[in-house]
Amino acid sequence: MSTKATAPVLRLTDVHRVHGDGEAAVHALRGVSFTAYAGELVAVMGPSGSGKSTLLTIAGGLDQPTSGSVEVEGTDLVGLSHAERARTRRTSVGYVFQGFNLVPALTAAENVALPRELDGVRSGEARRDALAALEEVGIADLADRFPDDMSGGQQQRVAIARAIVGERRLVLADEPTGALDTETGEEILRLLRARCDAGAAGVLVTHEARHAAWADRVVFLRDGVVVDESGSAPVDDLLEAGHA
């Protein structure tokens, strides 16, 4: 048992994910156990097809495991109804994607405020939250710009603001620096890092070692199995599953 003082924000236990069945079945994850604590940034590295994106979508409740449990702040997402899961997703989990996924017809502030409004927060308050998040990522002055009028790095900052608005405790990032040049990519990692230093748990999926190196721990995934990790890790929490 872990004796860590902080509670895990994310805990995956023996997670399997099989796409399709019979002959055509693809085992994306084969018994992955994985924990991210508050204040920690964990990177997941692996070649394409290793299961790293599946891991992230399952961690965020966007996909369901075939077996195993997925706890976010102590709540097992697997046991929840669709509506409850969607609610947990909105209030606890923030996503950052490679393609930014901003709504082009909305300003930066409106994009960031959107998840708060979906939570039922009044629009004045949602806008205040959005401005605070934009301030945190250093682009408060761009609040009323539209995505098309921003550089890639600025758009990704908006996406990060959207992922952290309203004090979300789990930030999931899938190749967030993919489309950016090295220096802009580094600024994005600095922001993710700062958010984790401020108490969030972060999971960063990447195939770039240079970016993974910003994490406290790096988990290596091969064929849906965690093969190794590096960093100051509570190893017992990481490698419980092992090879099937």
């Binding site: 240079r210 190196a213 590096s230």
Partner: protein, 198 residues
Amino acid sequence: MSVKHALLSLLEQEPMYGYQLRQEFEARTGGTWPLNVGQVYTTLTRLERDGLVEPAAHDETAGPDGDDATRTATQTQVRYRLTDAGRDEVATWFTTPVTRSQPARDELAIKLALAVTVPGVDVGTLIQRQRSASMQALQDYTRLKRQAGGEQERADLAWGLVLDSLVFAAEAEIRWLDHCEARLRRAAREGSAAGGAR
């Protein structure tokens, strides 16, 4: 690493004492390649012999020690400056590419070349262990970068660039290991397919 050229290029800035050269070098490279004082003085002696540096004359030594006593004292109290030949040498150094005749990471490459040919070596584990070790080094460099922060000072910027160099080299090593692993797995698959067809 060319200590000779490093010292010469520092003297391009202004005449300096031996200990100063060492400090200035380490400020720019963050002590990644520590120089010992003895090495600095031996190099300066050789540079003076080759006519690339000379003791600075009083009027050029702006400091308070530029009197006759300095000229006659031990080497540690001598301030050196570039000669014209030395200045040419620096210019040539900065305009000539570094030769890469000696690949830097040959121990690992050789180890892997042997591992895939000598029977009984678990190459997959070898690669993964190396990858973890290289990743840890990369994490350490990145931590240093985070601490380095501001780049107001020119020397901080230089140190930041040296760190980036270490980061990119470690990254390249990890990419190469990934590539080796992928190729070995493909070779293993093709090998077993060929074996099955026989």
